[in-house]
């Protein structure tokens, strides 16, 4: 099948899909409507369990099982990347050469690194109160670590980042989520049911029962996952070279 025929088929299929989707859009309830029965019940339920951030309550309490699925996809994606990007027998590691960095850029990177890691931890810790949570804060903290690669060089990053430790952390965080779910079963209720801990005072760091714990587990999982992913990509792009002359 040549390019022309394929393009025509794509255009025909796309036009059909577009017509169906537009017809569906015209029949949807109008944008900004006042009828959100499911959302209203979720807000009510979240306030009953004293979780200030309703979205965190949906993620880690009312639909915690769903989040377990998302976490499994994340774990699987990281596992797949690690397997795909491992060093094979026909590749060798070349030590990266140190990089010339202009002094203001280096100073900025080293000064902002701790601030950014702290912000990431703040976003994780306040997940059940203000906008944020494990998913967002984990990415922020893990990205922040890589300022060391951007502002200094790859060897500096490798010194503070033992990848093995982060792989263990990833697995530990994933199992912590499962164990917290099973604890609900052992306590005589249901898997991932938020009945283990007292709900606490509204709008404090410890409110919401198991929500802060699950949130912290996800934060650790995401941070470790992103560090491991970027480590494999940096290895491939910076260090690993094909054996030449064989």
């Amino acid at each position: 099948m040549n390019r022309r025929v394929r393009l025509l088929m794509v255009l025909a299929g796309g036009a059909g899909l577009a017509a169906l989707l537009v017809a569906a859009c015209l029949d949807m309830p109008g944008f900004g409507g006042d009828r959100h029965p499911y959302g209203d019940r979720a807000v009510h339920e979240s306030l009953a369990r004293r979780t200030a951030n309703t979205i965190a309550s949906v993620n880690f309490d009312q639909r915690a099982f769903d989040t377990l699925g998302e976490m499994t996809i994340l774990f699987g994606a990281v596992l797949g990347t690690v397997v795909l990007l491992r060093q094979t027998r026909d590749e060798r590691r070349a030590a990266p050469r140190p990089e010339d960095v202009a002094p203001p850029v280096r100073r900025y990177a080293l000064a902002v690194l701790p601030v950014a890691v702290l912000t990431g931890l703040y976003v994780i810790a306040h997940g059940q109160l203000s906008p944020g949570g494990g998913f967002q804060g984990g990415v922020v903290a893990a990205t922040a670590l890589h300022l060391l690669y951007l502002g200094a060089d790859y060897r500096a990053l490798e010194r503070i980042r033992p990848v093995g430790l982060y792989e263990v952390g990833d697995a530990l965080a994933a199992s912590a989520y499962l164990v917290l779910g099973l604890a609900g079963v052992l306590a005589g209720t249901a898997f991932l049911a938020n009945t283990l801990l007292p709900y606490g005072t509204f709008n404090t760091l410890t409110s919401g029962g198991t929500v802060p714990l699950l949130n912290a587990a996800i934060g650790m999982e995401v941070a470790c996952a992103v560090v491991v992913l970027l480590a494999r990509f940096l290895d491939q792009a910076v260090e690993i070279e094909e054996e030449s002359g064989t």
Binding site: P98, V105, Y108, V112, G132, V140, A144
Partner: protein
Amino acid sequence: MNGWTTAATLTFAGGVGATVWGVATGPLRRRVVAQNLSSALACPGLLLLAQGYGRPAYVDLALVLALLGPVGTLVFARLLAEELAADPPASPWATWCAAGFAAVVVLVLCAATGPGRAMVKLLVTGALLTGGNLVASRALAGGFPGGRRG
């Protein structure tokens, strides 16, 4: 709609709209500058929205953008150092205009909130944003003289 959200909407329509155009066309040196300016302009816009909606919690968004926006530009400066060294971007007036705009917005918002923890957070965000964007623009204009090494 109130004055704050109107100002934010104008910032997005004019500023961020212009950077979408800038990042879509032209030589690579103009595109990287447009990418840097997009975060420098969107961050004050987010601060204005937080004030306009009366939700101090939204300031977290601007804080994270002020931290990670310059980091994103550093990524491009670092990994495209070879291409940029051949054709270095120079945009002093646009960068300083964006930094000045951010500073003005932060100061006006500080005056509107009054002293307290919220004001400290605003000042930290503003300092990180202006500093970060000036450093990121410096990095684009030859921050990695070694070129493509490690």
